[in-house]
Subunit: 134 residues, 2 copies
C-alpha cells in the first residue's frame, strides 16, 4: 500500500461517511469480493429509492482517467443489480462530483476522463437522493 | 479462524460459484465492509431481473438458528437496496435451500430456525432465477 492508495482509501471512506449521513446503506466492495474474474465496483449504495454502483476515484492531479474495461465492468455489474452506474470523482480541495459514464469525455484511446476544470458538469452528492436518474 | 468458520467459508464460496454459473453477479460482502455499525448480509446477487441480499448459513447439525437482530439487519439492508432478503441454508449432504425470513419458524426467544427435517420447505437454487418473489 503506497501513499497514493492510502489517500484513495481515506477519500473512499469519507465518501462512505457522507453517503451514510444522507441515509444510504453503503457497502465497500473488496477487490477480491467476487466469485468471478470480472472487476467489481468500489461501492454499492442504496437509500430505498435509488441504488448505485459506484466507481470512486480521487486525484491530486487535474485529470482522472478510467479504463474502458473498468467502466464496462461497472456498467455490466450495475445492469445485473438493477443499479445506476456512476463515477465519483474527487479532486483535492474540491467536493465529490458524480457522473454518468456516458456524460464523460472519451480520449482517443477510449479512456474516460474527468477534468478538474469541468467539475461543474458533475452532480453534487445531494443530487443522488432524488431528482432525475443519471 | 477455526475449523467451523473455514468450513462455512468454503460453503459460501461454493454458493457463489453456483450462483455465478446461473448468470448471477455476486458480491461477497466483507464483515468490515460497511461505513456503519450495522451488520451486513453475506452476499449480494443479481441477474438483471432478481436481486437478493443473502444471509448464508451452513451447518453440520440438524438446526440452523439466526438471531432476530441478524435478520432485522438483513431486511433493513435489502429494503435500502430494493432487494429481496433471503436466508440460504446448507446442511451436510444436502443442497442449498432458500427461505424468506417470514416463512421460518420462530423460537420462543425470537430466533429464526431452519430445521434439517423441513428442508423441503425451502426453495432450491434454480427457483432464484425466476418465478414468484420469495
Amino acid at each position: 500500500v503506497n501513499s497514493s492508495s492510502r489517500k484513495g482509501d481515506r477519500r473512499e471512506r469519507e465518501l462512505v461517511g457522507e453517503l451514510d449521513q444522507r441515509g444510504f446503506a453503503v457497502i465497500r466492495v473488496p477487490a477480491s469480493g467476487s466469485g468471478t474474474e470480472r472487476e467489481l465496483p468500489d461501492l454499492l449504495a442504496g437509500d430505498g429509492g435509488r441504488f448505485y454502483a459506484i466507481e470512486a476515484k480521487a486525484s491530486g492531479d487535474d485529470y482522472i482517467y478510467l479504463d474502458r474495461e473498468e467502466v464496462a465492468a461497472l456498467r455490466h455489474f450495475a445492469s445485473k443489480f438493477g443499479a445506476e452506474a456512476i463515477i465519483a470523482a474527487r479532486f483535492d480541495y474540491a467536493e465529490w462530483r458524480f457522473y454518468a459514464p456516458a456524460s464523460l469525455h472519451r480520449t482517443d484511446g477510449g479512456r474516460y476522463r474527468v477534468k478538474r476544470d469541468d467539475l461543474d458538469d458533475g452532480l453534487p452528492l445531494d443530487a443522488l437522493s432524488g431528482g432525475e436518474p443519471f
